[in-house]
Amino acid sequence: MGDLSQRFCTIAGKEILVDNEGFLWHVEDWTEEIADALALECGIERLTDAQWAVIRFLRNYFSYYGRAPMNRDLKAGLGISLLNLEALFPGGIRHGARRIAGLPNPKSCT
């Protein structure tokens, strides 16, 4: 979130460029194996179907629009409240769902 420092990190056996909070620097570096590895970092042993549905929605949206969904699009697209989305990932929306999906760290005022 605003901290744009970069570092290389080994994720699922690959050298990946990430920011200081472990968000992928390049969206295209993401693979399902990387998602599994990032999920494990959040304490998720195995991603559930519901979690995969969120990850796929986020990736498809980003791929189509070139940006992450706005809050209203996220809620409408997933058909669940953001509070429920927060509960679905141990790291929450940003550090959980969004990071595991390989989307860039949002650049809000931090």
Partner: protein
């Protein structure tokens, strides 16, 4: 509630008063030419409006000299002009840990260039700077004290009057960052002995974005310009005009927003800034009291509401404030500001770095029903956090 509840008024007030917007568009549609640059009547009329607005701004802040009202893009712009124009190699400045990056970054830049040294005074557990600490930081080469009037994170109104009085005793001018206070806290530069004041139009002044100002008293005589160009006067000379306000203005002014500022000052005077402040504080009290009853909510420096503007900072224990902001927006239609609020040292001192907090900032058009809705939303989110 279907309508967005906008509680990010400390970032920019929204909406602007309809009458201000209407008159601004009307007047700009009629006289939107380059003010003071042409020999035709319309240019003179536009120039007259700019001069009239300088007078209004000077009166609004208790400054006797409209020529020392310099129009800028915003408060950050004004602070940069002041800091870069006043501080010279070898100078020392005193400021505080409450400052916004609009002060911290110019000071740091000047320091890293080897031009100045500076010290930042801490704030206490209630969010206030002790004027004695400011004075204690003064050195023989201190040339400027710069202090925020109201913290953009905590809302605490700093004792700038006392700081100005004490620093004047040492012959050191006080520059006040009034970004959060202008329009809700009455300011009298002359009697308070404030040497310079930076303000922005688009926050509590209720003007559009793109207009702010630096108001100087006669003490600030030797300020150097940091930008140069056309002023509409002395065009033959390659030397930038020395006379105020042109000395610190270059290029065509933002006439549309100046008209907006002129109209918004009239609006504020009609409404009375004390009554706007009182209304905002009543809502803030309600919000603070409601939040303090909820389990899992942390509030920061909300004890001292008499010296406060209408904003407060909170966190939901165990939740990234960025997520809380998304949930408030997406699930409840409430717009707040999350993160570090461009004031990293405040959050460092509060222990809320690196993720910051949730800031609720009240504006003149918020209602009691909206605060009820916010409290219900926060209760629901906090219940989730407590699971």
């Amino acid at each position: 509630m279907n309508k967005l509840i906008y509680l990010d008024n400390a970032a920019t007030t929204f909406p602007k008063p309809a009458s201000v917007m209407k008159k601004m568009i009307e007047i700009y549609s009629r006289i939107g030419v380059s003010p003071g640059r042409g020999s035709y009547d319309l240019a003179a009329e536009a120039d007259e409006l700019v001069a009239k607005t300088r007078r209004k701004v000077a009166d609004f802040f208790g400054s006797p000299d409209p020529d020392r009202v310099i129009f800028t893009g915003n408060a950050t712009d004004a602070l940069n002009i002041a800091l870069q124009g006043l501080l010279r190699p070898g100078d020392h400045a005193v400021s505080t840990r409450l400052e916004h990056n609009s002060v911290l970054r110019p000071l740091y830049h000047l320091h890293m260039k080897g031009i100045i040294e500076y010290d930042l005074v801490p704030f206490d557990g209630k969010g206030f700077v002790d004027p004695g600490d400011v004075i204690a930081a003064i050195r023989p080469n201190t040339k400027l004290v710069v202090v925020t009037h109201a913290s953009n994170v905590l809302g605490t109104v700093q004792p700038v009057r006392e700081i100005a009085r004490l620093s004047a005793g040492y012959g050191i001018p006080l520059l006040v960052d009034a970004a959060q206070s202008a329009g809700v806290v009455p300011i009298d530069m002359q009697s308070w002995q404030i040497a310079g004041l930076a303000f922005t139009g688009h926050k509590s002044m209720l003007a559009p974005t793109g207009i702010g100002g630096l108001v100087l008293n006669r003490e600030i005589e030797g300020i150097e310009p940091s930008r140069f160009g056309g002023t509409g006067v002395d065009s033959r000379s390659l030397v930038h005009t020395e006379a105020f306000p042109y000395r610190l203005e270059a290029g065509t002014l933002n006439l549309m927003s100046i008209i907006g500022l002129s109209e918004s000052i009239e609006f504020l005077e009609q409404m009375g800034i004390e009554s706007i402040h009182a209304k905002e504080m009543a809502l803030l009290n309600k919000l603070r009291d409601g939040l303090s009853l909820l389990d899992g909510i942390e509030l920061y420096c909300t004890e001292n509401f008499p010296d406060h503007v209408g904003l407060l900072t909170a966190n939901i224990r165990g939740m990234d404030p960025n997520d809380a902001g998304a949930i408030l927006d997406g699930d409840f239609g409430i717009a707040v500001r999350v993160g570090l609020h461009c004031a990293p040292l405040v959050h460092e001192s509060l222990g809320t770095s690196p993720y910051g907090s949730i800031r609720f900032s009240i504006g003149p058009f918020n209602t009691s029903d909206e605060i009820d809705h916010v409290l219900k939303a926060m209760a629901e989110i906090a219940r989730y956090g407590n699971r």
